[in-house]
Each structure stands twice: as C-alpha cells, then as structure tokens.
C-alpha cells in the first residue's frame, strides 16, 4: 500500500467531484473518496471540508458513524465472514475461530504484512449456502473448518508467491 502522505493529493473521482453546493452531498463524496483510495484518509476529510465548508470534526463524526467507511487502508485480500442469522445458526463461529487461528486476525484487522483483512458482514444474501465467506469477489459456501483451512492456505501460498515475485 503506497504511503498516502508522500503522494500528491488528487481530487478523487472527477465525475462525481462536482460539488454544486447542494445539501446532502457529504455521504456520496465520502463514498467516492473511499472508492478511489480504498479508505477515507485525513487528507480526504480536509479536502472535503475545504470544498463544502462542513467542519472536519462533523465529517469525522459521519465517517465513524457508518460501518461502510474505513479510516485505514485494507489488505490485499479481503475476507468477509457472513454473520447473518442463517450463517450464525449454521455455524459462523467455528468459521471465525478457524480464520483467527490460521491468520491471527480478529474482525476489522489487517495483517502486519498487509496481505489479509478480516471483516464481518451482516448478510451476503446466499443463506442457502450457509455458512459463507467471501474472499475478494469469490464466494465460498457450505464451509467446515477443514474445508476452510484448505481455502485459506491456498490464498496464503498465492499471496506469498506474489509478494516474492514483486520484491524480485
């Protein structure tokens, strides 16, 4: 993940970035900042404050209120565990414990090497496949701890190989 501080800060998503003074634009602006950078940085908050005239503190209040916004970048692979009712009833907890054991991550954490982030989501919407996780855009359903371990290990291997290639 590139260090944001060393980069020239560019206004994000030019198409959406046409603030016309209309009320209620704050959340769409924050959404487009997050779409562009993967998270809402302090600089983005300052920039939005500068353009809209809304105090940075108020913007920060909105950012921390909604679950969608992150103030830190995510890892290369994002694992989402579904904690909807169906997944819970069908065993989401052993799924979480297994991932915790394999990657040493709890919810909302990113691993030190920046390879994995773990998030909890309310319902992915494929209750029939419960328990379910998604890794990036791929869905893995009807999981058991052993099945999940295999999946996680294959992602770990791929991520490490990729990191190795990049460093070479």
């Amino acid at each position: 993940m590139a260090d944001n501080n060393t980069q020239e800060f560019k206004p994000f998503n030019v198409d959406l970035w046409k603030y016309d003074g209309k009320k209620g634009a704050l959340i769409p602006l924050l959404q487009s900042a997050q779409d562009t950078y993967g998270y809402v940085s302090e600089k983005a908050i300052d920039y939005i404050s500068h353009v809209t005239g809304i105090a940075s503190a108020d913007i920060y209040g909105v950012v921390t209120f909604y679950a969608q916004f992150r103030t830190k970048p995510l890892g290369k692979n994002v694992i989402k565990i579904c904690n909807g009712t169906a997944c819970h009833v069908n065993g989401a907890r052993p799924i979480y414990e297994t991932i915790q054991d394999e990657l040493d991550l709890t919810y909302e954490e990113t691993s030190d090497d920046g390879l994995f982030s773990l998030l909890s989501v309310a319902c992915i919407g494929c209750c029939s496949l419960a328990p379910v996780i998604t890794i990036n855009d791929e869905t893995f359903g009807r999981l058991t701890p052993p099945k999940l371990r295999k999946v996680i290990r294959s992602f770990k291997r791929k991520a490490k190989e990729l990191a190795k290639q990049e460093s070479e």
Binding site: I27, L30, Q31, A67, C126, S128, T139
Partner: protein, 585 residues
C-alpha cells in the same frame, strides 16, 4: 428453438450463476442459433441454485437445479439440441418439489424469475405501467388513495401502518414541495426479500413510487438503498434510465401534467437508518440518528418538507392494487391483515428461499407444506420472525395464522419478512445473545437506555452462555428490557429486548439449564460442552499441539484423548482437526 433462462439474483451469482451463464455463452458461440439465452432475477428456490429454466414456446416451462458449468455441455447436447429432458436434474414437474410454488400466491413476486429485469419491454408485456396509466388517465389522486385504503395494504417494512392513511396524511400536509422516499435499507440479518424484488423486478417499485407520488402530490423522490446491494443499485439505475426514455418518469408523464423524478441514495451501513427519521438524516448527509416524533415525516420530513416513506415491498404491491382494484387485493388475507406477505426462509429448513403467501396461512403451513419441513427431519423447535426487533415463536404456537395482530400477541412482530427456522440443535440463549450483539453494535447511542442497557444485557447473556450466570440475572434481564423499551426514542431500542423476552418466556428452562446445570441442551455454547476424540483420529498430533493447556495427549499415529480435568473448553481442538475426529457433547 428452446429458450434458456439462468437465474442471476445475488444468491444465484453466489452459487456460481455467472459461470454457468458464461458456459452457455461459449456453447452458443460454438453452435450458433441452437438456443436462445436469457438472464432472469431471483426465482425463489435458493436451495437448488444455480437454477435454469427451459421453455420451448409451447407447453409449461420446466426447471433444472444445481447446474454447474460442466453440466452445461451435456444439457445443450441432450436437451436443447437433442430434445430429451434430463430427468435427474429436474426440480419442477411431476413428482418433484411438489408444493413449493403451488402453495404460494405471488403478487409482489409476480415477475420475479419470470422476466429479464434488464428489459422494460418484458415488464410492459406483463401489464407493467398499466397501473400508472390507469391512475393518471382515469383516476383522481383521491381515487388512488381510496383504492389503496380499500385494499387494506399495511406497511411491509415491519411497522404495519396502513399505507392509504399515510398517503392521506402526506397529501393533506401543508406545503408545495413534497417528497417520496423508498426505504430499501434492508438491514435485518437474514432478510433478503427487498433485495430480490429490486434485482428481479425493479420497475414494479418505480411504478409503485410514481403512483404514490401522483396520489400525494410529489414530484421528487429518493430510493435509499444499502450500498451492500450493488446489483440492486445497478438494476435500479438501469431501470430509471429506461423508464425516463419511455416517458414513465420525467416531465409530463404519459401526456399528463404530472412530473416525477427518482434519485438513488446509497446507504453507508447503519441498521438504525431503517428508522424513518434516521433515514432522513442520512439522506441529508448527517449521522443517521433518529429524532423525537411528532412532527411525523408526513408533516415535516426531508429538508423539513412533508415526506412519505414506504418500503420496497409496499411499493411493489401498489401497481397490482391499482390495476386490479383495492377490493381484489382485500380478498386475500384476514380481517386484520389483507393481501400477501413475502418471507425469506432460512435456517434449519429444507427449502430455503423466497416465499409469498396470503396472510392468514399458518406458520406451520409455510414451514412444512411449502418449505418441506426441517433438515434431517428433525423436530421444529421455534421460528424467529422480525429479526433483531422480533422474537422466537415456539413450535407449539406455530399453528397461529400469519396476521399482524396474531403475531404481535406472541411477543414477536411480523417484521419485514425474515423467517428463521430453528430445530433442537439451536440454542435459544445463544440466539438471544446473537441478536443482542447485533442491536448493541447498531445502537446509535442517542438514548442512554438503548446505548448502555443493551450493553449490560449482552454482558449478562454472554455470562450465561459461559456457564457463569445466576438466577438473579434472569430478573435483571427482564427489568432492563422494560426500561429499554420505555426509554428509547425509536423502534430499534423499543424492540431490541424482544428476542430476549420471547426466549425467556417460551424457553426459560434453557436459561435455567445453562445457569443451574451448567449445560447447553442444544450443544452449542462451547464453554458448556465436553470435548472428546473419536476413532476417526489419525494421531496427527495437530490438536495436541494446538491445545493451550496440554489437555490432549497421545502417541503419533495413535488415538488421542482429552483430559477433562485440564480442558478449558476453548474449542481449539475442534476447529483445528481436519478429520472430524473431535466431538462436542
């Protein structure tokens, strides 16, 4: 030539629907013009995804289930070209899955899984926008409201407020500028009715909103949709553009003086925004916190203008009501609750998916006659209705008809339509803890009793599931529940204790078992279980290495044992074992 429709709702895609669709596309490239390929939305039979419907122009279409990309080749070869139905893969037709569709009455889901949601033409072909046309050409706004009142339609988002009355209030409110909001912030964990409707039949919602706007005297509206529903949002954007092009939205609609626009606002993930005043704050770009009512949004809502808020399912009912008349709709249902209700079936039930039934059908009929009963033919223990605001209804009471009044009497609520089925392997204390964890996290923090009270309740529930509860905890739970209900501003706080209260009322003995016997009757609370190792053990020593207290011993390649006196019941051995050799008793 045969037509193939692949179900590409979110559940279909999760199960691999897009891969199947691409496989069909590849086949079509190799054998051009051998069949027609289409996509459709949610068919409703989530338990047999990926679903593929085949029709040959005449006769009833039939459906294949559990289709994978490597089955596509054979299907094209044998059926689409060869004309021979592959019996083994069929899900509908003689002798198969009887009752799932037959026992439903589909008004809201009338087009779901039937039409291509990306095609406005297919919607129009099935009487789409007829309701709007009828309203604009032959009815006054008052006539429209009268029909909706006659239909007896009540808000399907959970509250159950009569829709016609709500429209009347907003129409009667002072002010030139009025807003319509469609609440598509479906946040209950385990509910996906609205998402399916938006993905599979977006025009029915747009048409319902336009009719409401005409009745109320509004020209501008918002759909507040969860950002977690990207597919639904994309479908809505496409549908709005199509409707504008055809003149169903925009200025001088269908040659009348009626103007109407719809904008989409993406929610940013806050359950409390399902509450109408919180939702309005969120659209205004503020923290989504509820405020005191009155004034109700009908008088002072978005930007302090009169605002009418209904949810997706409510709007999807409207075109049907206007086209067929309020009385036709009121024929379905009971004295107190008219029409139909959509349920998202999940949990320990054989057929999970979307089900629409007339009000008045019993819960048991839905679970057994439509959804085929419980997995492994276990015994039904309870159903949970209304999500975090609802409650658990025990099996002994599942003979009651589905009706706002009857459900409320049990302590649960109708809710938006999530119906979770539970059997003997579900721990009711754990269910209460699960919902409290959810509401505690989602409490916006404005009201002290909701913010701190739910936290204290959760702590007590965690303690009980750890086997550290006392009988006095049960009284404390009841007392806190009463205080939270009375001292919270919005629906989230007022209903948060419901899952605890209903489980305490109907399953008190399970709480007592956790507290006095230190046992979890459903074998779910790990701290109250005994872990043992069976003969599937290969002696790989992984569990022994993982055990933090060295409670597992055994030689390499020999059966291992758990020493109960040292075991702290952390469950680590259970999750690390790759051979299903660790058992929980």
């Amino acid at each position: 030539m045969k037509t193939v429709k692949v179900g590409l709702g979110t559940c279909g895609i999760s199960a691999g629907g897009e891969k199947v669709f691409r496989a069909f596309q590849d086949e079509l490239k190799e054998r051009p013009n051998s069949f027609v390929l289409q996509e459709t939305g949610c068919i409703g039979m989530c338990y047999r995804e990926v679903l593929v419907e085949v029709s040959n122009g005449s006769g009833e279409p039939y459906m294949y289930g559990e289709i994978t990309p490597d089955r596509v080749g054979q299907m094209v070869e044998e059926d689409l070209i060869g004309g021979k139905i592959i019996e083994d893969w069929l899900v509908t037709g003689e002798g198969r899955e009887v009752g799932f569709f037959e026992n439903q009455t589909r008004i809201v889901l009338r087009n779901c899984g039937k039409i291509d949601p990306g095609s406005i033409e297919e919607y129009i072909e099935r009487d789409g926008y007829k309701g709007l046309e009828k309203a604009l050409k032959n009815m006054t706004p008052e006539d429209v409201i009268e029909q909706v009142e006659k239909s007896g339609l009540r808000g399907r988002g959970g509250g159950g407020f009569p829709t016609g009355m709500k429209w009347k209030f907003t129409r009667g409110a002072k002010g030139d500028k009025k807003y319509i909001i469609c609440n598509a912030d479906e946040g209950d964990p385990g509910a996906f009715m609205d998402r399916s409707v938006l993905e599979s039949d977006p025009h029915s919602v747009l048409e319902g909103m336009a009719i409401a706007a005409y009745a109320i005297g509004s020209d501008e509206s918002y759909i507040y949709c969860r950002a977690e529903y990207p597919k639904a949002i994309a479908r809505l954007r496409q549908a709005i553009a199509q409707a504008k092009q055809k003149g169903f939205l925009g200025e001088k609609i269908l040659g009348s003086d009626f103007n109407f626009t719809i904008k989409i606002k993406e929610g940013a993930g806050a359950f409390v925004c399902g509450e109408e005043t919180a939702l309005i704050h969120s659209i205004e770009g503020l923290r989504g916190m509820p405020r005191f009512r009155p004034p109700f949004p009908a008088i002072s809502g978005l930007w302090e203008k009169p605002t009418n808020i209904n949810n997706v399912e409510t709007f999807a009912n409207v075109p049907w009501i206007i086209t067929n008349g309020g009385e036709a709709y009121a024929k379905y249902g009971t004295e107190d609750s008219k029409g139909t209700k959509v349920f998202a079936m999940a949990g320990k039930v054989k057929r999970t998916g979307l089900v629409e039934v007339p009000m008045g059908v019993t819960i048991k009929e839905v679970v057994f006659d439509i959804c085929g009963g419980i997995i492994d033919d276990n015994e039904l223990k309870a159903v949970q209705m209304g999500g975090p605001s609802g409650g658990c209804i025990p099996a002994s009471m599942c003979d009651i008809p589905i009706d706002y009044q009857q459900i409320n009497k049990t302590g649960a609520i109708m809710g938006s339509g999530g119906l979770i089925v539970m059997d003997s392997t579900t721990c009711m204390v754990d269910v209460a803890r699960f919902f409290l964890t959810f509401t505690q996290e989602e409490s916006c923090g404005k009201c002290t009793f909701c913010r701190i009270g739910t936290k204290r309740m959760l702590e007590i529930l965690v303690r009980i599931t750890m086997g550290e509860g006392t009988m006095a905890d049960l009284d404390n739970l009841e007392e806190l529940s009463g205080q939270i209900k009375n001292a919270s501003l919005c629906g989230l706080g007022q209903t948060a204790p419901n899952p605890v209260l209903t489980t305490l009322k109907y399953f008190r003995e399970e709480y007592v078992a956790h507290i006095e016997d230190k046992k979890c009757p459903a074998h779910e609370c790990s701290a109250l279980l005994t872990y043992t190792i069976n003969d599937k053990c290969t002696g790989c020593v992984v569990c022994a290495k993982a055990c933090p207290t060295e409670a597992i011993t055994g030689e390499k390649k020999q059966l291992h044992t758990v020493h109960q006196d040292q075991c702290i019941k952390c469950g680590k051995c259970y999750t690390v074992c790759r051979f299903d050799a660790v058992e929980k008793v």
